[in-house]
């Protein structure tokens, strides 16, 4: 056997390579703790557990657990930065860990820098990342991470603009509806909830389209 503990280190390094980032991110997701139980597309989610996870993320968490959460957080940051880039010029994303503040129960790390427009472009990049990105962000939430509002809304807007011309196509609308469910859990919930209202008013969804959408109401999970 090779070194089983070093797999995440190798995968983290591969995230910087455009050829490998999608596959490496999916692999990191497999290493995430409690992934199969709670997060995942089309799974019945208990949003109360999400709030509990935020409370649980305290200095006492095991090193392995914290390490995997950090890896996923780094991946989400690099993923969110993709939406800033024009579709035809993907950016090389480099991540550096600045520090981990375990005392406050929050993980503050990752700074993105550097871009290399000479890298080959991939016009379908954002589209091909829809489902992976949703699953990564959900897993982060269920591991107690609070998503940054500005970056999350940029990511959401990228999906929204893709979906807008196809709002009668249920396959196109499905990821948008799943993304709507994440918005109340960003670090500025009123902004996320206002965005939900705006999107529903703009796109004029039918009632049956919103059947699977669940939102927290007055601090309790639905």
């Amino acid at each position: 056997m090779l070194d089983p503990d070093a797999a995440d280190t190798v995968l983290l390094e591969l995230l910087n390579e455009p050829e490998y980032e999608s596959v490496a991110a999916t692999a990191l997701l497999k290493l995430a703790p409690d992934r199969d139980d709670r997060a995942g597309i089309w799974k019945e989610k208990k949003l109360r557990e999400l709030w509990e996870a935020r409370v649980r993320l305290r200095p006492g968490v095991s090193t392995n657990h914290a390490g995997l959460v950090i890896l996923l957080y780094l991946q989400a940051e690099s993923l969110l930065s993709l939406t800033n880039a024009p579709l035809r010029k993907s950016r090389t994303v480099r991540v550096s860990i600045e520090g981990i503040d375990k005392g406050a129960g929050r993980i503050r790390c990752a700074r993105l820098y550097g871009s290399d427009p000479a890298r080959p472009s991939n016009p379908e990049r954002v589209t091909s990342w829809w489902w992976s990105s949703l699953e990564i962000l959900e897993t982060l939430l269920f591991n107690g991470i609070v998503l940054p509002s500005a970056e999350t809304l940029k990511w959401f807007n990228a999906i929204l603009e893709k979906v807008r011309p196809h709002r009668y196509d249920s396959q196109q609308v499905a990821p948008l509806l799943q993304a709507l469910c994440l918005l109340p859990f960003i670090d500025a919930p009123p902004v996320g909830i206002a965005k939900i209202g705006e999107v529903i008013a703009q796109l004029k969804f039918f009632a049956h389209q919103l059947r699977g959408v669940r939102f927290p109401r007055s601090g309790t999970a639905v």
């Binding site: 056997m1 070194d3 070093a6 390579e17 050829e19 080959p120």
Partner: protein
């Protein structure tokens, strides 16, 4: 292990599979990483060649990626 990897040139899926199955320790993980970096360079060169061929309106085989095989080998480590 190193000898096996040397005799399978250009077969990244085979190479990484051999690394994952026959590897004996952390030092062999380095070989797997070297294989992955070689595959990245190969895929990049192939893609650039394909882009040049498209610009010159010539036929060119689509560049093949072995990323899924190699990452699977890392996970099996």
């Amino acid at each position: 292990m190193r000898r096996i990897a040397r005799y399978l040139p250009g077969q990244a899926d085979w190479e990484s599979g051999v690394c994952a199955r026959e590897g004996r320790g952390p030092e062999d993980l380095g070989i797997l990483q070297a294989l992955i970096h070689a595959d990245i360079l190969r895929a990049r060169e192939e893609r650039e060649a394909a882009a040049r061929a498209r610009a010159a309106r010539q036929r060119h085989a689509n560049p093949e990626s072995c990323s899924s095989w190699n990452v699977r080998a890392v996970l099996n480590a």
